[in-house]
């Protein structure tokens, strides 16, 4: 592995973790969507670079999907949706920003400790990628549990999927079938989410998950 090639890959993957952390403290939906778009663009850059240094042309396809679909189509659609629903003013988080950030840092540390220790024999690039990917995945998960808003949870879920794509790219020569499926799953996820958002809107006039909680099945 050439020094510079490795450093750039490292920079891009590390940047992804940083943007994940940035997503944690956004308390307004439009800003959150913008940061998510940045996340996707950075992922596309990272995948493109990997395609270049691994000489795997099919990875460019993955990069294009990430860039076009997650970097532009979804953010634009979501922005329109929140404006139409009239919820673009603000979002509240269940836990405060301070504790959330601390938890995020702890999760990144955990991911590093776990992955770097178990992949001692693996290729250094794949190793870093996996550690960063697990960090992104865990941060996405953290975001899903700290957001009340359905759109926030969806964005958390999609940033989590970005982590998975990073991991799949790091695994050299992993068959295309899985990468297509990742893109495909995101697509389906989005359709499903869209359906639910509209249905929720139809029924409740809100996408606040707490409003849903009031209708828990077991209340007498």
């Amino acid at each position: 592995m050439h020094g510079l090639a490795f450093d750039i890959a490292h920079l891009l993957a590390g940047g992804l973790v940083l943007v994940s952390l940035m997503m944690l403290y956004q308390d307004r939906l439009p800003a959150l969507i913008n940061v998510f778009a940045l996340h996707a663009i950075l992922l596309a850059a990272s995948v493109t670079w990997q395609a270049n240094i691994q000489h795997e042309p099919y990875l460019y396809v993955t990069a294009v999907i990430a860039l076009g679909f997650k970097g532009f189509v979804i953010p634009i659609a979501l922005r329109r949706m929140i404006v139409r629903l009239g919820i673009h003013r603000e979002i509240e988080t269940v836990v405060g920003i301070g504790p959330t950030m601390l938890a995020g840092i702890a999760l990144v540390a955990l991911a590093m400790v776990v992955m770097l220790r178990v992949t001692a024999q693996a290729d250094p690039l794949a190793r870093e990628d996996l550690a960063f990917a697990l960090s992104v995945l865990l941060l996405g998960l953290l975001m899903m549990v700290t957001r009340r808003n359905a759109v926030g949870q969806v964005l958390g879920f999609m940033s989590l999927e970005n982590g998975l794509i990073l991991a799949a790219t790091g695994a050299k020569g992993m068959p295309l079938v899985v990468e297509i499926s990742v893109a495909f799953s995101v697509l389906i996820a989005f359709i499903v989410i869209g359906i639910f958002l509209f249905r929720i809107r139809e029924r409740f006039d809100t996408v606040d998950i707490q409003a849903l909680d009031r209708f828990r099945g077991e209340r007498p």
Partner: protein, 480 residues
């Protein structure tokens, strides 16, 4: 080649049926096509016994998954028969519209396709895709009534299911990473039959982390505590045929994935033993669900907790390993699928005729609706593990093998079983006997699927055919 490969049929029939069903507006015709397609799939699954195709890079049929495929297609078929009567009533009372039924039938077949694909997949990536597909189909079906509760249940299922599926994919990638230095880049490093041959040379540390992710990921789908939160809601709020296939089939498919990876782990001597992890998760689920059974107010929710309890027992048995415990686990899984779907068939008709799912509003069923009532009594007695029914036998095997090998583990196991037993019988006496309340209207029910399942469970409790015993013993030895 003169015969058509039954493996292809098992996959092609549901896909074709889904496409046809999406086009047919008349629900009477489409429910019949649904039954017919499920029946042909069952025949194709049975013919796998006669003609085994050779494993290739994508598909594999061996003695282990054939049990799952046949059980899957059988319960899929009987549920489609039940579903035909059930949805006719839902349409009558206006809970579902014809347009939704079209969607419902198409999704039913998509779900069957996803589950069958997951079961025959030899490629761990393909298996992941298939399980995700089956999950998405069930999420859409759970939300089909579009009530507040159904939407909340579907949303919760979607979020938790997605997290599970993400973990499973990460685990799958890690398995590939572990395989790549040994087998080389490309497709071969994801083929299960290739992996199992070379797994002893893989890096054990990477494999350990991979298994943790896979167990958490697919374990969410199995409904293991503490990842079970989606399961009671999804069972209670969706249409009852979906509750039956969720409990009877989808949980098994996820369990099958866990078992495949457990076999990989067991074949690498340096990796951690997967058994203790599974034993712990199984016991936690069992004891937790057993206590939760007491506080249920909703009848479908109660049986959903009972499914968590039983999946706990099954995962515990497979975690213990060894010929006897594996045999017990397989038998328990088969019996649970049959019994639990029979119970949901009964519960579906009962909640339709009574117009409620609240346990407090259902009393004296054996008096108002004797056939359904006694069917349910039989089902609950079976699921609680009373002799001489099938589940008693499998639970007895689990407990006795645990006593002989790890007596300390038998304490929480027996505690969980007794607590669950008590809860089920307590509730049963409430809704089956006593002063009848609610509607006494005659019910349009399909009794055949329910009693067919119960009869099988009854017979299995008294007499297991030697051929079946030999087959299960063989599979138990493969599982290690």
């Amino acid at each position: 080649m003169t015969m058509i490969n039954p493996l292809i049929l098992v996959l092609v029939i549901p896909v074709g049926a889904a496409a046809i069903l999406a086009l047919i507006a008349n629900y009477r015709i489409s429910s019949r096509i649904n039954v017919l397609a499920s029946f042909i799939t069952l025949l194709a699954a049975l013919s796998l016994f006669i003609q085994h195709p050779e494993p290739d890079s994508y598909f594999l049929v061996d003695d282990l998954n054939i049990v799952f495929i046949v059980l899957n297609s059988f319960v899929g078929f009987t549920t489609s028969v039940f579903s035909a009567t059930y949805i006719a009533h839902e349409l009558e009372i206006g809970r579902l519209t014809p347009a939704y039924l079209r969607f419902y039938h198409a999704m039913y077949q998509v779900m069957m396709f996803g589950m069958n694909l997951a079961l025959v997949a030899n490629n761990i990536g393909l298996m992941w895709v298939a399980i995700e597909m089956a999950t998405l189909a069930t999420i859409l079906m759970v939300g089909i009534y579009r009530t507040h509760e159904a939407l909340e249940a579907a949303w919760k299922y979607f979020i938790l299911g997605s997290v599970g599926i993400a973990f499973a994919l990460f685990g799958t990638i890690l398995v590939y990473m572990a395989a790549e230095p040994v087998i080389g880049q490309g497709l071969q490093s994801m083929v299960w039959t290739v992996l199992i041959e070379r797994v002893a040379e893989f890096d054990p540390a990477l494999l350990n982390v991979a298994f943790i992710f896979l167990l958490l990921g697919y374990g969410t789908k199995v409904g293991l505590a503490p990842l079970h939160a989606w399961l009671p809601d999804a069972h209670a709020e969706g249409p009852t045929p979906i509750s039956a296939v969720l409990s009877g089939l989808l949980l098994n498919v996820a369990l099958y994935a866990v078992l495949r990876f457990k076999m990989l782990m067991a074949a690498n001597p340096a990796a951690i033993a997967p058994g203790p992890l599974m034993v712990t998760m199984g016991l936690v689920s069992l004891v937790f669900a057993a206590f939760m059974l007491y506080r249920r107010r909703d009848i479908k929710r109660m049986f959903a907790y009972s499914s968590i309890e039983h999946m706990g027992i099954i995962v515990f048995a497979f975690g213990m390993g060894g010929p006897l415990a594996n045999f017990a686990g397989l038998l328990q899984m088969t019996m649970h699928s049959l019994t639990k779907s029979a119970i949901f068939f009964a519960v579906g008709h009962i909640s339709q005729v009574k117009g409620t799912q609240k346990i407090s509003e259902i009393h004296g069923l054996t008096e108002t609706h004797p056939v359904l009532g006694w069917g349910l009594v039989l089902g609950v007695v079976a699921i609680a593990g009373m002799p001489p029914l099938g589940i008693f036998m499998s639970e007895f095997l689990v407990v006795s093998s645990t006593f002989s090998r790890a007596p300390l583990l038998a304490i929480p196991l027996v505690l969980g079983l007794m607590v669950g037993f008590g809860a089920l019988l307590l509730r049963l006496s409430g809704f089956a006997f006593g002063e009848p309340v609610g509607s006494r209207a005659p019910v349009q029910a399909s009794y055949v699927p329910m009693f067919a399942h119960l009869a099988l469970v009854f017979v299995a409790g008294i007499y297991l055919p030697p051929a079946l015993v030999a087959w299960f013993q063989h599979v138990a030895s493969i599982l290690g």
